[in-house]
Amino acid sequence: MADLNVSLPGLNLKNPIMPASGCFGFGREFSEFYDLNQLGAIVIKAATGEARYGNPTPRVAETPSGMLNAIGLQNPGVDQIIEKELPFLESFDVPIVANVAGSTVEEYVEVTEKISRHPVIQAIELNISCPNVKEGGIQFGTDPKTAAHLTEKVKEVSEKPVYVKLSPNVTDIVEMAKAVADAGADGLSMINTLTGMRFDLHKKRPIIANETGGLSGPAIKPIALRMIYQVRQALDLPIIGMGGITSAEDVVEFLLAGADAVAIGTANFLDPYICPNVIESLPNTLEKYGFSSVQECRLKGE
């Protein structure tokens, strides 16, 4: 059977599949569907310094082969997450990646400092790209200097490797990747959502109360693949790839593009069993295309 192991900074994965941040909460709900120990890793929902309620509803809308979301980083705050959510995750033998967000460099630093100390957390995913919160998200994710500065500061305090999650809403993704790489990022996570909109024909206004939302799902897969490929040509940094994955074939496509592991977001909503299903079919799919391991497939893309 094809070897699914992947070894990345801080993350020893039994397989390259992890649920993406924001699409899996803190794992509780999905643990009622299947044994979370099957997962390669789990990326938990974004943590901020204080509790946040997020944006007004409606927060989601459907688009062709995709969806928009503008949750607005609703979360109970880093302290509550550490106190109430992480203990539950301790009971699983799965590396946990903490997604860190904030409105200021100080907030990112504070959250990273706190959460990266927790033994269950194996890596930090720095969410510089959430386009929904007006007070800063867009800045961090689209300006290379600001992103580099943030990465540097977070790296200074983080006790775990830091994966910077890139926003696709930029002219030059390679420039962004290089900036955070030079600033010390241990890896990249890409892509976050593309900013989009839908209109309610009856109400004659945007469906999403926040007007714009982040586009995710299969619709964005070709953009994710292109960006990962471009960054892979330019850099050697580990990449956790995501954007529209719904099948083991998609995973192979992301590996060929240059991803080292992948995350599945939106597809969890339509099929709560998508992660274990993809993990189950991955070995056969790899073999079908002539690969004896994830590693071999990943290198083929070079």
Partner: protein, 257 residues
């Protein structure tokens, strides 16, 4: 407890203007005991429609292992449902959420207050309540052609139909006829109606069922939250898909933005 299954369409027929009643058959039906819960239905093949559609359980027959849903054709998802033929399979996740509390409710005079496609869950609820209680249904529709299930509700108790345009029943809004001297009410319908109902029946104990656009439908994505009225509430919000869709009328904020 977390279940998903292909269910077979037994019947799918128009029962009112743009409104269909679909009967689904499958083992999943046996877990659908609580009125007010919803089914989360997959639309079409593959991932063209990445979001499932929430539809309330309108009736369940445990013996036949069938469940009925009643839906209005709004957009692509419900249009696709309306084209399903007997024998087609539909992928169902459910029953989801927390429904109307019915345990230990007896000897009460109860309002069932529904508006439009908020009416369906009240029927399965009414069937359960009518056994030990006196039930009065107040159902509002836009127009005559949109009315459905009138006779079925009449079998449960007194039933008043109202239409916005007066083309059938009484003209007006459900709140026009509501009286405060009831023991309990259960309501489902548009937010504006729920808001008016809770204000009018301010002194009566009641439950409301809310709607919101959903992402996951299982409590993981925070798409479907609503605010709690109590400023000291530990979380400050509820998830409609998981904590709801039914809430005590006083617990959640019905009018925001």
């Amino acid at each position: 407890m977390m279940k998903e299954q292909w269910m077979e369409v037994l019947n799918n027929r128009p029962i009112a203007l743009d409104t269909y009643e679909m009967t689904l058959h499958g083992k999943l039906a046996s877990s659908m005991t609580q009125p007010g819960q919803f089914l989360h239905l997959k639309i079409g093949d593959g991932f063209r429609h990445v979001l499932r559609r929430p539809l309330s359980i309108a009736d369940v027959d445990q013996e036949d292992q069938t469940v009925k849903i009643i839906y209005k054709v709004i957009g692509e998802g419900t249009k696709w449902l309306s084209q399903a033929k007997p024998g087609n399979q539909i992928h169902v996740l459910g029953p989801r959420g927390h429904g109307f509390p019915v345990e230990n409710v007896a000897d009460q005079h109860i309002y069932l207050i529904g508006g439009g496609v908020g009416v369906p869950p009240l029927y399965y609820l009414g069937k359960q309540l009518a056994e030990n209680n006196r039930v009065t249904a107040v159902l509002g529709f836009q127009t005559k052609d949109a009315v459905f299930y009138e006779e079925k509700f009449q079998e449960l108790g007194e039933t008043m139909i109202l239409t916005d345009d007066g083309s059938y029943g009484k003209r007006g809004l459900v709140t026009d006829v509501l009286e405060s001297k009831m023991d309990l009410y259960y309501s489902c319908g548009p937010l504006g109606m729920l808001h008016a109902v809770t204000r009018k029946l301010n002194d009566v104990k009641g439950y409301v069922s809310l709607e919101e656009r959903m992402g996951c439908g299982i409590g993981a994505c925070f798409a479907c939250v609503c605010k709690t009225t109590d400023p000291n509430d530990e979380r400050g919000y509820r998830k409609i898909c998981k904590d709801g869709p039914v809430f005590p009328a006083k617990e959640v904020v019905l009018w925001q933005i």
